[in-house]
């Protein structure tokens, strides 16, 4: 029933869009027929070009995000579990945080040029913040009782880290990583457009340059799909990694 409703509504929207283009209610050079956009996608699947673009985009995004997540968790764990480190670093981090991530693009271009390294550095810089701040917060807010359980059992620092503070902080870290991933997709698209790097973002950019509106819409659909599936994937792994947060009776 729900699925049928979804299908009907989606078909209806597509039909309206199609008819609006068909009867020239909108300008064809600007608004493509959805049928044409889908035809473009199918053609690109056939030629393998779509697969190549998607792969390039995902590889770039994943590298930046993984780098950021790793750094964010490592640095965040260090800062979050030491009061001294917090006093030394937090004010500086707080001052840097409001900087829009895309503002570092010119710096990265100046330092590294228009290439993949630049793109990955920018993506990593942008998605570092949510991972880092979430990790610091997670380590700061280990409940006092749990810390004392560790003390009473005379745990070593290492054991305490792995059995108490890290799992406790995961509840904050994982949503932080998810936000970071959403940001990394955005920055991937931006840097691809800015530096003309092969990928879905670049495809969209070129489609506009060449006034090929069907290609442009096709690219938007593909980016939407990537965003959607990646978010679903992370929501599922969040549930897997934090099973105790969802299986709740009270």
């Amino acid at each position: 029933m729900r699925v049928a409703m979804m299908l009907v509504f989606t078909a209806l929207m597509l039909a309206l869009w199609h008819l609006a283009v068909r009867f020239e209610l909108v300008n064809r050079t600007f608004v493509a027929d959805p049928a044409d956009a889908i035809a473009v996608i199918i053609r690109q699947i056939g030629s393998g070009a779509l697969f190549e673009s998607i792969l390039a985009t995902i590889a770039r995004m994943a590298s930046g995000w993984l780098l950021a997540s790793l750094l964010g968790i490592l640095i965040g764990a260090g800062i979050g579990s030491s009061r001294l480190a917090q006093q030394v670093f937090m004010p500086t981090l707080e001052a840097l945080r409001p900087l829009p991530a895309s503002a570092v693009i010119p710096v990265a271009i100046l330092l590294l040029g228009l290439n993949d390294t630049m793109s990955i550095v920018v993506i990593a810089f942008g998605s570092l913040w949510p991972a880092l701040l979430a990790t610091i917060h997670g380590f700061q807010s280990v409940p006092r009782q749990l810390r004392e359980v560790g003390t009473m059992l005379e745990m070593s620092r290492l054991r305490y880290f792995f059995t108490i503070s890290l799992p406790s902080a995961l509840v904050d870290i994982i949503p932080g990583l998810r936000i970071g991933l959403a940001l990394s997709l955005i920055l991937t698209v931006v840097t691809e457009m800015q530096a003309s790097l092969r990928g879905v973002g670049y495809d969209i950019f070129m489609a506009q340059r060449l006034y090929r509106s069907a290609d442009l819409y096709a690219g938007l659909i593909v980016i939407g799909m990537i965003g959607f599936f990646i978010n679903q994937l992370l929501l599922i792994s969040e549930r897997r990694l934090l099973p105790w947060t969802t299986r709740r009776v009270h």
């Binding site: 729900r2 409703m5 979804m6 009907v8 509504f9 989606t10 929207m13 600007f30 001294l84 006093q87 030394v88 670093f89 937090m90 004010p91 500086t92 707080e94 001052a95 840097l96 945080r97 409001p98 900087l99 829009p100 991530a101 895309s102 503002a103 570092v104 693009i105 010119p106 710096v107 100046l110 330092l111 701040l133 610091i136 917060h137 700061q140 959403a182 997709l185 955005i186 698209v189 931006v190 457009m193 800015q194 973002g201 969209i204 950019f205 489609a207 506009q208 340059r209 509106s213 442009l216 819409y217 690219g219 938007l220 659909i221 980016i223 939407g224 799909m225 990537i226 965003g227 959607f228």
Partner: protein, 251 residues
């Protein structure tokens, strides 16, 4: 988000070391000043840009787009959220469409907006509005969903007109959550506006930034970045303020 900390003299160590190290390294030539500039040169560049009015002009253009986009996105997000929140069937049916649209990063629409609207304020506003409307839509939707059904039943029993229902029942119940969505949107607005400018739109601070880079003015480039961080902090402060006033009113 983070636990409040008393200011400590230790906090000054990192920024002072960074700035001093930067200044010294560029003066001795360890770092190339044509790429890294110098803290003193950056301060001078800010002062210069503030004096000749270019900074104020660019800031006005960026803020114009951010604020207008935010307002449009807010209106659209709230309207859509209330509509779909009250019509459960419609919301379920529309979910693939909304999820799909929500998954497209607003920035990816830059080429399309350019095609449809050309360079200028309107394309930037459209993209900012698109980015801002989703967190507000989601917040409104969940807020409307969580209205006690009994309240809506009372409204039906009293045969309230839709306007009255909106004013006396829906709006108060929804308000608090929508503010949370609005805070996210405020954070988005400035970032998205600047990004669109960096990417293509020849106006505002983002464009000034990319021009500074391309004309080999690293001092101006870093100056603009510092200025953007300050603006970002002001936006963040505004959204915090919103939270306090909300708490104040409810208390």
């Amino acid at each position: 988000m983070t636990i409040a900390m008393r200011p400590s003299p230790l906090s000054a160590i990192v920024p002072i070391c960074l700035l001093l190290g930067w200044e010294v390294a560029t003066r001795t030539g360890t770092l190339d000043p044509r790429i890294f500039s110098q803290p003193t040169a950056i301060v001078a560049a800010i002062a210069e840009a503030a004096r000749d009015g270019s900074l104020i002009q660019a800031t006005r253009e960026t803020l114009e787009a951010a604020v207008v986009g935010l307002v449009l996105g807010f209106v659209f997000g709230v309207a859509l959220g209330i509509l779909l929140g009250l019509r459960t069937g419609l919301e379920v049916a529309a979910r693939p469409t909304t999820e799909m649209l929500r998954s497209i990063p607003a920035i990816a629409f830059t080429p399309l907006a350019l095609l449809l609207l050309g360079f200028g304020l309107s394309m930037e506003v459209a993209i900012v509005a698109y980015a801002c409307c989703w967190p507000i839509f989601i917040a409104t939707l969940t807020a409307v969903r969580n209205i006690d059904p009994r309240l809506l039943e009372i409204a039906s029993v009293l045969e309230m007109s839709p306007q009255r229902r909106l004013r006396t029942i829906i709006a108060p119940a929804v308000f608090a959550r929508v503010v949370v969505g609005l805070r996210t949107a405020i954070a988005f607005a400035l970032v998205v506006a600047v990004t669109v400018e960096i990417l293509s739109n020849p106006r505002g601070l983002g464009y000034a930034l990319i021009v500074a880079q391309q004309t080999f003015r690293p001092d101006l480039m870093y100056a603009l970045i510092v200025w953007l961080a300050i603006l970002g902090a002001i936006f963040g402060g505004l959204s915090k303020l919103l939270d306090y006033t909300r708490i104040g009113r409810l208390a």
